[in-house]
Amino acid sequence: LIINENNFVHQLIARNSKSLDYMVDNYSNLIYKIVFSVLSSCNDHQCIEECVNDIFLSIWNNIESFDNTKGSFKSWIIAVSKYKSIDYKRKLMKNSDIECIDNYTLSSNDSTESIIISNENKNELLSIIMEMKSIDKQIFIRRYFVQEDINDIAKSLNVTRIVIDNRLSRGRKFLREKIMALKKEVI
């Protein structure tokens, strides 16, 4: 079986290791660029390679999370790579005294902005997020899951920072109300 762009996702799901080679040949430069843009300020070449390794492995382990009815594989792995490298950077900073010239806001001191939840059922939370309006949902996921910087989100959606702030605030309110409706507590 020759692995090509039409069958490689299917072959990843089928655990065909040749599809991993295909992915390295065709997507490693893109993933490397993404990781580099997040981690280059850490000045540690080894962690960039480690993070790239980790991204490939987690794509292999979680390939069934990809939904081809919603978008392209390329766009999904860009999102995955952003998420993993920002997460990696956060862990790196937590565990070491490596000084990063920070391009990303990794944690927000603004308490109104962070969402702390208690014991809500995960599936309920997911379904509430999925109920959000498409643009709100997108901004919400990018901010709270990928932990992208608000300015970067604004830039990529071609809007001002205020628009993002407003929509995030709306998203938090939506989440809070929905959870309240479920008689759960939000702090």
């Binding site: 072959q11 065909n16 490939f56 999370s65 939370l125």
Partner: protein, 465 residues
């Protein structure tokens, strides 16, 4: 209470990431590429991380899995006191875990050393039959090896990123290894390659280049000849073509091979269309753990198994310890520990005090059978426990007996010995060095009732040519 993100795992977050509209061209203008060496390293890393070779080195590996599930830590012996640097490393390593096999007799001496990055790697010997190629080596550091390893979580100088060539052509084979420290500066190990489908010639030039030892990058390159001439006349191969139907797949046993160092069972198969894939079981058949018996009903000691899956089809190579005689048939009983149990199950144990109990004494392992401790001896600094296992799968049962201290922490044994006398099957010995005499220990047998033993799926592999 947790931050919202921390509540979800990668699988769930990756699902949410389908809902983001990403500008796919965002990175097009960044002029940055991974070089070929980086890509090669990445492929090597992924290959290592995703291959499904399982090593079951006698009692140690099998028991580690169980002991971890019992919640106890596993204490490693400080040094392997029984592995000599002189003599056959392959024989010592295999003997230590109870595999026997005539390694010393058929090994080819190599003794070639390469020094780089303050480390001398010596390939001491090599042995090759039709299905496996095993390489014995020592690693000697100018400093304490553990101190030289850059990753402090790593304790062993694993042969990473090692490539092999046969007559100049790259050999793409599953490999895995084991080994032990003999002192802080010296590690001895064996690396095994699965060559079952490689059809190597009887004599060939072999290249081995090690570029990474547990994170220490360097170049340790070797070149030597390997000959199978000696061993070949003692290898018996059968092509039984036994077809077996499983709930999730159908298989065909294509080859069974007996050599002075190994017994190999090789089969291929395909998954059924309506198969439901349980978590963590993609690409592997539901019942890929087998109790195998010879024609006298003696269980074979399982060494390891490797498998390869492509789309809906798969191949397996299961390896067992060498047998003294070639049997007329093999009998197989498939079993498994259901995936849903693996994560959460707490195994019950039955235990007896090591000192103060009257021997012989019995420890039940549930429906499968029991362990009979015959004798506990203390000779100098050694504590030797002789026992037998009675039941469906004596080897498997024997590997599920362990020693633990007052805090219920399991103690790693130093030697697991299996009686090599066919008149005394199923007799085992566990040896511990330097037990703390001020502590109380107990012998505990694991209750194996959580295992699903499918006698209804039992089948025979006739061996006639």
């Amino acid at each position: 209470m947790k931050n919202i993100k921390e509540k979800f795992d990668d699988k769930e977050i990756f699902k949410l990431l389908n809902d983001i509209n990403i500008n796919e061209k965002e990175y097009d203008n960044i002029d940055l590429e991974m070089n070929e060496l980086q890509k090669k390293k990445l492929k090597g890393y992924l290959k290592k991380k995703t291959k499904t070779k399982k090593y079951k080195h006698g009692v140690s590996a099998a028991a580690v899995v169980l002991l971890c599930m019992l919640g106890g830590g596993f204490v490693n012996p400080a040094f392997a006191q029984n592995i000599p640097i002189l003599g056959s490393i392959l024989q010592s390593i295999n003997d230590k875990v109870g595999f026997h096999g005539e390694y010393a007799k058929y090994s080819q001496e190599i003794n070639k050393s390469v020094f780089d990055k303050e480390i001398t790697v010596t390939i001491t010997e090599v042995i090759c039959d039709d299905n496996t190629l095993e390489i014995g080596y020592t690693i000697k550091g100018n400093e304490k090896i553990k101190d030289m390893l850059p990753d402090k979580n790593m304790s062993i100088p694993h042969l990473q990123m090692t490539s092999f060539k046969v007559n100049g052509t790259e050999l793409d084979a599953n490999n895995g290894g084991t080994g032990d420290y003999v002192d802080e500066y010296t590690y001895v190990g064996s690396e095994e390659l699965d060559i079952a489908d490689k059809h190597l010639p009887r004599n060939f030039n072999f290249d081995m280049s090690i570029t990474d030892l547990g994170g220490i990058e360097g170049a340790w390159n070797f070149k030597f000849n390997i000959s199978k001439d000696q061993i070949t006349k003692y290898i018996t191969n059968f092509d039984p073509n036994t077809k077996v139907d499983f709930p999730d797949c159908s298989i065909n046993i294509s080859k069974v091979s007996f050599s002075p160092i190994n017994t190999s069972v090789i089969f291929d198969g395909s998954f059924k269309k309506d198969r439901t894939i349980t978590k963590n079981r993609e690409g592997v058949m539901d019942y890929d753990e087998w109790f195998v018996y010879d024609d006298k009903g003696i269980q074979l000691n399982e060494k390891c198994s490797s498998n390869h899956c492509e789309s809906n089809n798969f191949q397996y190579h299961m390896q067992f310890a060498a047998l003294n005689e070639t049997p007329k048939y093999l009998t197989v009983i498939p079993y498994r520990l259901p995936e849903e149990i693996k994560e959460h199950h707490h195994f019950k144990t039955e235990s007896k005090d090591l000192i103060g109990s009257t021997y012989p004494t019995e420890l039940s392992q549930g429906k499968i059978g029991k362990i009979i401790i015959k004798e506990v001896k203390n000779i100098q600094n050694k504590t030797i426990i002789n026992y037998t296992a009675e039941g469906i799968a004596p080897y498997f049962q024997a590997s599920n007996l362990f020693l633990r201290d007052e805090e219920k922490n399991p103690i790693a044994h130093d030697i697991f010995y299996i009686e090599d006398d066919s008149n005394k099957p199923n007799e085992f010995t566990l040896t511990f060095y330097n037990l703390d005499t001020t502590k109380k220990y107990e012998l505990a047998a694991i209750n194996l009732d959580a295992y699903e033993i499918r006698e209804d799926l039992k089948f025979k592999i006739p061996l006639e040519n």
